[in-house]
């Protein structure tokens, strides 16, 4: 920035309004937490109060994002830009946050987790994620990435009594910091190559002429860092262990919201900065993620690990869009992020409810006969799984459909074939869960708590989103297509 730039205006603050709202609510929770009465008799009520405040915070963030949409433009010396692209991801992240908070209400009681820091960390993590989607400055992206990552590292270890949860947290932290370092190194090299850390400036520089080797390496390193965060192969090794140990709602959260944010960053870096050598880098990562993810999932008996491998595979499908041409690739990637978030958060909401105290019931066997014991829960999970398979009338179908057509338009026939074959393989392990739920004898020794209001709302919301995206995908896709204009100039 140069010295003559004016001081921030009101409108600059509006352009980071959702982040401000989330931070304020996060801090309110932190402040209230020590003042609340957590003796056993009152604990439930206090927990719930904090939860509702967090929920209001995330809903307020959705409202703030929608309000913000009326003020497109850059803020704070072009560090942040509000456009329809960023608004899309802001709303998505805040919505995921709201659903996760809803599904955490009962979960925290069940697992006896103190809620103050939990809700605060989720909201503060959402701040980082939101910021990522609107940041135009690599350094700001890095900071936002750290905000989001650090809160998820802590959240992963929240089942303090379970060793597996601490393991998950430490593993995530160590590997995650390593990956962030890669990203930072890439930023430094990019700065060396182009003399700027602003994505627009970098885009102009890379677009104008010869691309230096330094920039190539910079892109590759940044990609490694971000690839780790979205659990794309070959940077995916941490995923199953971390997902297995972390609290289920948190897994639902960190497999959708931060991923969406990182995909937003990737879209900006790859398309807006005209990153060189994009197609082959993505081609290989996408093919590897799909294949390794699906093969890994085939042999899992723990449903959380299974969904972890499935999330690796889905990152692969999604990455296919990044190899496509901008006008097809960007909207399809955005659509995919949204529908994946809907079905995945829903699936983890079911898992977290069913897991019961200490998350004991997370193997496939425990789900035997669920269709008979709790038709509603089983039907909900079935729809999420069908959407993950990509059966028509669910969001998952159109997500895959758009990605595959985008890849075909870009003549990536080989990659599309790999993708199609992979989705056929994937059907097997998702179906296994459905088969177990409906076609096995019920296991009466597995407790089946009633569906509480919070979880019910969360399930209903994610079901509605999954089906809405499957029946009337037009609206969201149209919106996503409009934002291409903001991204590619």
């Amino acid at each position: 920035m140069n010295p003559s730039t004016p001081l921030p205006q009101i409108v600059d603050y509006i352009r980071i309004l959702p982040e401000i709202v989330l931070s304020i609510f996060g801090m309110i929770i932190m402040l209230l937490d020590p003042l609340m009465d957590f003796r056993p008799t009152h604990a439930r009520k206090s927990q719930r109060t904090l939860g509702v405040i967090a929920l209001v915070g995330s809903l307020a963030a959705i409202a703030a994002s929608l309000f913000q949409a009326r003020y497109p433009g850059t803020a704070f010396w072009e560090m942040v830009r509000v456009d329809s692209f960023s608004v899309f991801f802001h709303v998505l992240i805040a919505a995921v946050t709201a659903i996760v908070i809803l599904s955490s209400f009962e979960y925290l009681d069940m697992q006896e987790i103190r809620s103050g820091e939990y809700y605060a960390l989720i909201l503060l993590g959402a701040v980082g994620m939101s910021l990522m989607s609107s940041a135009m400055e690599l350094v700001l992206i890095f900071i936002a990435l750290e905000i989001s990552s650090i809160s998820t590292y802590v959240l992963a270890g929240f089942r303090r009594r379970a060793a597996i949860s601490s393991e998950s947290s430490v593993k995530y932290f160590l590997l995650g910091s390593f990956a962030t370092a890669f990203f930072l190194y890439g930023v430094a090299l990019m700065f060396g190559a182009t003399g700027s850390t602003n994505i627009t400036v970098i885009g102009d520089a890379l677009n104008s002429g010869k691309v230096s080797l330094l920039a190539d390496v910079g892109i590759a390193l940044m990609f490694v860092g971000l690839g780790f965060k979205v659990a794309a192969a070959p940077f995916h090794i941490w995923t199953p262990d971390v997902y297995e140990g972390a609290p289920s709602p948190v897994v639902g959260f960190m497999s959708s919201a931060p991923k969406a944010a990182v995909f937003a960053v990737l879209l900006r870096i790859l398309f807006e900065a005209h990153a060189p050598g994009r197609v082959w880098l993505i081609w290989i990562t996408a093919a590897l993620s799909m294949t390794l993810g699906n093969i890994g999932a085939l042999v899992q008996d723990n449903i959380k690990r299974l969904l972890a491998y499935s999330s690796i595979a889905h990152a692969g499908y999604l990455l296919m869009a990044f190899a496509a041409l901008p006008h097809d690739g960007i909207p399809s990637a955005m659509f995919y992020t949204a529908s994946y978030a809907a079905m995945n958060v829903g699936a983890f909401a079911v898992v977290s409810h069913f897991g019961s105290a200490g998350e004991r019931y997370v193997t496939l066997e425990d789900y035997a006969g669920l269709g008979r014991r709790s038709p509603l829960l089983a039907a909900a999970l079935t729809i999420f799984l069908l959407s993950l398979i990509g059966i028509p009338l669910t969001g998952g179908f159109f997500a895959k459909f758009y990605v595959f057509t985008a890849a075909l338009e870009a003549n990536l026939v080989g990659l599309t074939i790999i993708g199609v074959l992979n989705s056929a393989v994937a059907a097997y392990y998702y179906l296994r869960i459905i088969v177990v739920m409906y076609m096995r004898e019920p296991r009466e020794d597995v407790p089946l708590p009633r569906i509480p209001l919070g979880l019910g709302t969360a399930l209903a919301a994610s079901l509605a989103a999954t089906i809405y995206l499957g029946v009337l995908p037009g609206h969201v896709l149209k919106y996503a297509s409009q934002s291409v204009a903001d991204l590619v100039r």
Binding site: P392, L408, L431, V435, Y438, M439, G474
Partner: protein, 506 residues
Amino acid sequence: MSNIPNLDGSILSLITFIPLAGALLLMLFPRRDRDIRVFALVVSLLTFAASLHLPVHFQRAQSGFQYEHDNVWIMNPNIHYHMGIDGISMWLIVLTTFLTPLCVLISWKSISERVKEFFILLLILETALIGVFVSLDLFLFYFFWEATLIPMALLIGMYGHGRRVYAAVKFFLYTMIASVFMLAAILWLYAKVGSFDFVTVENAIRSGQVQNFSSAAEWLFLGFFIAFAVKVPLFPFHTWLPDAHVEAPTAGSVLLAGVLLKMGTYGMLRFNLGLFPEQARRNAPWIMVLALIGIIYGALVAMVQPNLKKLIAYSSISHLGFVVLGIFSFTQIGLDGATYVMLAHGVSTGALFMLAGILYERKHTYEISEFGGLATPMPRYATFFLFIVLASVGLPLLNGFVGEFLVLSGAFQAKAIYGVLGATGVIWSACYLLWMYQRVFFGKVTHPSNQSLPDMNLRERTALWPAAAMALVMGVAPLLWLNSIDPSVQNALAPFSQLASRVAGR
């Protein structure tokens, strides 16, 4: 009445979605099994009544699609809610709505657990099946095509017999993986034509506007073909069928053999012939050989089955071979026959499965060796069974004869050897069905416990009478059906006119 023109536009939607609406209402029902059964029966009868509107008001002279309804569903991709029928799909719809009430009746007692879910699934399945036949948008077609899988697999997996889970998963994976190839072909066409509309795509292909079509056509043809061939099932893709049938509950078997298999042959007729006539003709020789293998192999395997239901399942493979043979003979008479066999097989094999189910309800086994001399304790049952067996064998004046005769005439016109080999299938079917009949019904009662088997009750007879009557009517008055099938077949054969003119002797 002033609302008649409106009805013509929406009658197809109505027929398609009455069962679904019924299923949704059923979800809200309390778990009183009797009410649920009655309600399911009423809904399925209502659907049948509505579907009768189609043949009554069908313009027989007019070729092309009727009762069309075309709305934009999704802008991007360009998906239309486009429905319409011709003489071929119309009768398949009526077959579906005809069989469903019978399925409800036949499941009245045999399904005693999770009754509500059963009838919900059955009605959803009916919607999906009708949807397959009314869709004129490739995407809509694919959607309904896949949608049939889930309720069917659940019906097999939840209400089937011993190895039901294995059979359900096998069924699902086989058909699902095969239809992925069809999806790929549909997407390729969409990428080039920019529309999923069947008529638009067809015209674009015929006028040669599709880029790179000549190089891709072979693959597209195969993409569609493999999905349909697995469904039919054509040899060697048939291995899922016996498992699925043996394990499925009776109603599942009836709809599986009666309608689901026809989705495959209908798809071949509509898409493989309609969109890729040249490739169809080029590939016809090996497809007809596979069909012939299916006819003969299916019959031979049926002959040695110790299990009644497996026998009927293999007989389906044999009969469906006739359909494929007729379709790929590219003759008017062959296609007429193929369509007719589809309908006739739906009625008679549906009835055979119902009869097998009735026996299973009493003895809980399908092993033929467990029976013998059943004609003594169950005379009514034996009569119905004989009647349906004869229909299935192809006795003149019953429904099986008409279709098979037409198919074989068509096959002869295409190439004499196909006709000769195909004709042996008729003999084989007489062998295995009559031999089975003899072992089950004739002679002395071999097992004392069978001495006291109750004969068919009123409900069971109510389920069988319509099928038996239909078998007779279809055998005596085939023109009732053929005069609306014929123009549509002519239409389907238009691109083959060169070939068709050679067989003008009809």
